[in-house]
């Protein structure tokens, strides 16, 4: 897929690009609003990552321009302003999602994938995890024909690990994904450990879970390359 990254902070733009390239996206960069405006009208993109805090351009205008030019690109807005109004304004103007800086690259990827699934109406296939079968829509987990009862949070956690399989996810990345940013006092909490512990307990009651790995000192990983 083709992605345009519109971000005036070159360092950040390059990091995002490096990450997305490793995930097999085609990346194009625009450091200014003018540059972005040109590129949007000339090229066809599937995604535009748009920083709203561009010094030379009102990011919202770019969405309008793209729509007028007939672009069908999905917009994901990035902002360090973190204002609720920006979010609402952006989503009203046809942005597909919204991320506040600083965000996890993994989170960005899963947002892109989620938008892509919606956009291209990909029927999500069941994911096989050892003896477990994970259904994305509707959200269900089965083991040898029996449904595994999970709380919403436990399911979210598992799904996030599984969708980002074979990558180590740090506790904070997991925490941020599930609880969002509003509870800001929790950078060092053991929330994730407790939930993983409970999750393991529930899963192990059905079948062993060697694929759910703890990476010592770093985080957790759902390993599917066996």
């Amino acid at each position: 897929m083709n992605i345009l990254i519109v971000e005036d902070e070159k360092n950040l733009a390059r990091e995002i690009a490096a990450f997305l390239k490793s995930e097999n996206f085609l990346c194009d960069l625009a450091y200014t609003g003018m540059e972005a405006s040109e590129k949007i009208t000339v090229n066809l993109y599937d995604f535009v990552l748009l920083d709203l805090g561009l010094p030379d351009y009102n990011g919202i205008d770019l969405i309008n321009e793209a729509r007028e030019a007939g672009s069908e690109a999905s917009f994901i807005i990035i902002t360090a302003r973190g204002e609720v109004e920006d979010k609402v304004k952006g989503l009203n103007l046809g942005a597909d999602d919204y991320l506040a800086k600083p965000f996890a690259l993994i989170e960005l990827l899963s947002r892109i994938n989620a938008v892509a699934r919606r956009k291209f109406k990909v029927t999500s296939q069941d994911i096989i995890l050892g003896e477990f079968i994970m259904q994305i829509q509707p959200r269900k987990l089965h083991c040898n024909g029996r449904e595994v009862e999970l709380t919403k949070k436990e399911y979210d956690l598992l799904q996030y690990l599984v969708l980002n399989h074979d990558k180590v996810l740090t506790r904070h990345q997991l925490y941020e994904h599930i609880w969002g940013n509003i509870l800001d006092d929790q950078y060092d909490s053991n929330f994730i450990d407790v939930h993983i512990k409970n999750l393991r307990k529930k899963l192990n009651a059905h079948a062993p879970t060697p694929w759910l790995e703890t990476v010592r000192g770093v985080g957790y990983r759902a390993s599917m390359e066996q």
């Binding site: 950040l12 990450f19 204002e83 600083p102 950078y187 909490s189 939930h195």
Partner: protein, 440 residues
């Protein structure tokens, strides 16, 4: 509280009543004085006429020179009389008095002019009298007419006063109306109130200017927080992406990943700190809306659900004890959630295994109150005093979190006009009470 226009009308009425009362007391007296003077003038005129007549025709036609007769004449209604008699007193009389006279068995009060004069060496006394009945009657009538007139005037003016006051004070009503229920200066109606009363014009003008000024300040503050957050969070963002990209590389050693994760953790701490400070700044500069309607117990239940796994894991019992519930109007749900979440989470953290945290909600003295009580390690007085400050010293070095959670909770409480009180005893436990403002 009484409205200004009612007060004004009331004062007008009162002053009119006092004025009328005074009028009613003094008017008859004045009327009487005026009447008497008129009567006296009349009497003097009559006297002149009689004297003129006597000097023309002599005294004989009235009183024969040798008789002891007196002359008297009054009209049929006995309103007036004239009498002439011989007078044997040395001194000269010329005065007016009020005296009763018996005429045909009827005692009538007269105003009488007594006048003595000399004709052919004989002294005579002339009396000219006028009945006071007519005067008294006039007084009664005038009093009645005046009374009726005044009542009529009072009613009419009271009604017109009310109407006029209402009209006159309409701009003031509009101004107070604009101020009522304003939570945020940006919501203030900035259109000028139409008036040609200079006081109202100045009041309205000053208010609008003030509101605009405050609004401007809020906007500036908002801009500053937005800019600061942009400036601080962008470098954090760059660093974070770099470290995350490093962590994803497959060629790094595991001890290196641990170091990277540690750096990320430190960075998260910075991020969380910046975000917390920004959150406080945003709340304090009123960038959050308070217009959600929800039940407090729903929020508390949600929090219990969130924290229960952690409490469970730690062996702390989390108990709900919701006696009463309150539908909260004009509040920000996610902020209220954060407020209670921080406190409950803190309570669980500070309670050892086997301890208990109780969430209670009930009306106390008319105010809805939520208490969060733990039997954890508690706090000393010194710790209590700095509890809500942004960068207090930590209770112990193992404590996690930035310690800013309580400051956030306090800011949110202030924003919602919720009173927070804390009682704590070292090694016994802590009780946080949130007293909600009365629902108007």
């Amino acid at each position: 509280m009484i409205k200004l226009k009612i007060k004004l009308a009331f004062f007008n009425l009162l002053s009119k009543l006092v004025f009328t009362a005074l009028f009613l007391i003094f008017m008859p007296y004045i009327v009487e004085r005026i009447n008497l003077r008129q009567v006296d003038k009349d009497l003097i005129q009559k006297r002149e006429q009689v004297i003129d007549l006597i000097s023309e025709v002599g005294i004989e036609p009235f009183i024969a020179s040798d008789s002891t007769d007196t002359f008297g004449s009054y009209n049929i209604l006995k309103e007036e009389f004239v009498s002439l008699e011989r007078f044997d007193i040395e001194e000269d009389w010329n005065f007016i008095e009020v005296t009763s006279r018996l005429i045909e068995d009827e005692e009538i009060e007269y105003r009488v002019l007594n006048y003595s004069f000399l004709v052919d060496g004989q002294k005579y006394l002339l009396e000219v009298g006028k009945s006071l009945d007519s005067i008294l009657f006039a007084r009664k009538n005038i009093t009645r007419v005046i009374l009726l007139f005044l009542i009529f005037i009072i009613i009419i003016t009271l009604l017109t006063d009310l109407q006029y006051n209402h009209f006159l004070l309409r701009p003031l009503d509009k101004i107070t109306g604009k101020l009522k229920g304003i939570a945020n200066p940006s919501l203030f109606d900035k259109t000028a109130v139409k008036t040609n009363t200079s006081d109202f014009y100045h009041l309205d003008h000053a208010l609008r200017e003030l509101m605009e000024h405050i609004d401007e300040l809020f906007k500036k503050e908002k801009e500053i927080t937005v800019n600061i957050s942009h400036e601080l969070l962008t470098p954090v963002s760059v660093l974070r992406s770099k470290l995350e990209n490093l962590l994803l590389r497959e060629d790094i050693e595991s001890d290196m990943s641990v170091k990277i994760e540690e750096s990320l953790k430190t960075l998260h701490r910075l991020q969380s700190l910046v975000n917390s400070l920004l959150l406080i700044a945003r709340i304090e500069s009123h960038q959050f809306l308070r217009e959600e309607i929800f039940y407090i117990s729903d929020v508390l239940k949600e929090i219990v659900e969130e924290i229960n796994p952690i409490a469970d894991d730690k062996g702390v019992l989390l108990t709900e004890d919701f006696h009463q519930d309150m539908q909260y109007k004009q509040a920000n749900r996610s902020l209220i959630f954060s407020m209670f979440y921080n406190i409950v989470n803190n309570a669980v953290k500070n309670t050892q295994s086997g301890g208990e945290v109780i969430l209670k909600s009930a009306f106390q003295q008319g105010n809805f109150t939520v208490t969060i009580a733990d039997n954890g390690r508690g706090m000393t007085e010194a710790q209590l005093s700095t509890l809500f400050s942004r960068f207090r010293t930590r209770i112990d070095q193992n404590e996690d979190g930035t310690g800013i959670g309580l400051a956030i909770a306090k800011t949110i409480a202030d924003f919602h006009k919720i009173t927070v009180s804390v009682t704590s005893e070292a090694e016994k436990g802590t009780i946080f009470s949130f007293i909600f403002p009365e629902i108007s």
